[in-house]
Amino acid sequence: MLAQGIRSHRRWIVLALIALVALALAPVFLAPFHIRVAQLFLFSAALAVAWTILGGFAGYWSFGHTAFIGLGAFVAALVETSFQIKPAGLNFVVGMLAGTGACAVLAALLAYPILRLRGIYFAIAMLGVSQVLGELNNNVDAFKGSLGIVLPQIAPAHVEPQAFYYYLFLIAGVLTLGAAFAVKVTRLGHGLLAIREDEDTARMLGVPTERYKTAAFVLSAVLTGMLGIIYAHALGYITSGSVYRTDFSLNVMVYALLGGIGTLAGPILGAGIMVVLTQMVLGRLLDTHMFVTGALLVAIVMLAPRGILGYVAPLLRWRKDGASP
């Protein structure tokens, strides 16, 4: 099914490859500030794509995905600073494995009870989970959440750190998008779509709903954790407040909604628009930043509930070959 999915989405894949080449060359031409903006775009877009695997495909809207950013970041940071394996690259890999592993375990443990809740109950339960983790992390001294952790520098000495993390985010973004695409075009993705449309009917058709939801949840958590770990290294120093951030959880939904919920191109498009808007245009309007975000959220839901792609994609008439963005 993967091969067939690649065939039917070949135009989107070509578009993605062109974008990838452009993004890979971009740091050569961009000023440092713009590299930072582009880095934030990659991080945001990848987060939104990872969220989409559960929220967009299966319709389980997590309001607390920052739980996995924070958990991944802190587990990796604690492991890397405690063991300090040489060389630095290996240390980072061990931290990455530990952090994403922790996210996988947490998601798998939560899956059974929490994925039985539907709609707003799931959303709120995830919000609760992220808040509990954030507060525990902040208040239990062993986790160093309030004191903060300085992460080991992993950029090689002769490489500009800004560019180094840019490429790290780019690789992580490609991985995330690839994984999400593989989910989308295979049985798992179709099963998740059936679950989103009508879970009881999906089960009646033979979709192993519990297993599929758990798989989507764990994959989404692991990818989110991976991104959180890279983000933590890019920051260099983290506290609970800098990685357990409710606005991360909210923003991924805004990106997905703005671009087009349930698609893969949508969250990327949404992230691009929002990051450019908030960093380049509204960067000077710190006072009203939250107001504008809120107003945009309201405007999207009221005016374009299907997102930008919901309007643009039919115009492109790419759907003739059966592929959706």
């Binding site: 959303a123 609760g128 309201v298 009221m302």
Partner: protein, 292 residues
């Protein structure tokens, strides 16, 4: 023993406030299935309105409750008819929840712009009077807060059960289609319900202002508090909100006393998650039947 009693009394006072702050959220949730994530910011608007009356006109915070409720009733009605209803009609309930989240962000930002992000508190002349009853110390502020909360909750219960509009609201909550067939203007009822919800949120804001300092970012806590209260006590009824609020008040006071002042929030969210998992059907009614 004295510590236990004192903790219990403090918890009950706090719980009365939680109950009042949550009842509006509970009503909207029960009557129209909308999760109003801007509920907390409405509570704070009540607090800031009361603060404004006290600062500029010298109105006693308890006396400012009726005007605060009147203003917020109107705002609530307009908010529901002008935005929430449109969002519900246009897209899903989850999307309507996002709309309320967006509004919460906007209002919170406005509060920061108007009143600054600093903590404010309302201290009327009688703020420092206190009584010693046996082993327990209670100040006048807390007693009046608890009394005001209980009085308002009782009034609401009476209104819901003894007045015509109360009956219509309860009927609409149970079967909106049937209510519509009986000639009820359901949208008007939703508007009135939202108005009442906002009015009671505002009243709780006025009361919270004399009990504790407040600042705009607190709105998140008041929204989540409301959700926990509803999850604990049951949806849509003043008695449920009272039960849930008092439980939450006692639990968080006891947690901060027994484990540490940083932990009431952790405990609250733990209870929220556990209650969602263990008793969603019993207390919330339809957690498993889906709401999409």
């Amino acid at each position: 023993m004295q510590l236990v009693l004192q903790t219990l009394v403090d918890g009950l006072v706090l719980g009365g406030l939680y109950s009042l702050a949550a009842i509006g959220f509970s009503l909207i949730f029960g009557v129209m299935n909308v999760v109003n994530l801007s509920h907390g910011v409405i509570v704070l608007i009540g607090a800031y309105l009361s603060y404004f009356f006290w600062q500029t006109l010298g109105v006693d915070p308890l006396l400012s409750i009726p005007p605060v409720m009147a203003v917020l009733f109107c705002l609530g009605y307009v908010y529901q008819r002008g935005l929430i209803q449109l969002a519900v009609d246009r897209s899903s309930l989850v999307a309507s929840m996002l709309v309320t989240f967006g509004v919460a962000l906007m209002l919170r930002n406005l509060l920061v712009l108007i009143f600054s992000p600093d903590f404010k508190s309302i201290t009327p002349s009688w703020a420092f009077t206190f009584f010693v009853i046996g082993p327990v110390t209670v100040d006048l502020v807390r007693i009046s807060a608890l009394c005001a909360s209980l009085v308002l909750l009782s009034l609401l219960a009476l209104a819901l059960h003894r007045t015509g509009i109360g009956r219509v609201i309860r009927a609409t909550a149970q079967q909106d289609l049937a209510a519509r067939l009986c000639g009820v203007d359901v949208r008007h009822v939703y508007g009135l319900t939202f108005g009442m919800s906002a009015a009671f949120a505002g009243a709780s804001g006025a009361i919270l202002g004399i009990v504790m300092p407040f600042s705009p970012p607190d709105e998140v806590h008041w929204t989540i508090n409301a959700f926990v209260v509803v999850t604990l006590g049951g949806v849509g009824s003043p008695s449920g909100a009272l039960l849930g609020g008092l439980l939450l008040g006692v639990i968080s006071t006891a947690t901060s006393q027994a484990i540490g002042p940083a932990f009431p929030n952790v405990m609250m969210f733990l209870i929220l998650v556990v209650m969602l998992l263990v008793r969603p059907a019993g207390l919330l009614g339809n957690a498993f039947s889906g709401s999409r």
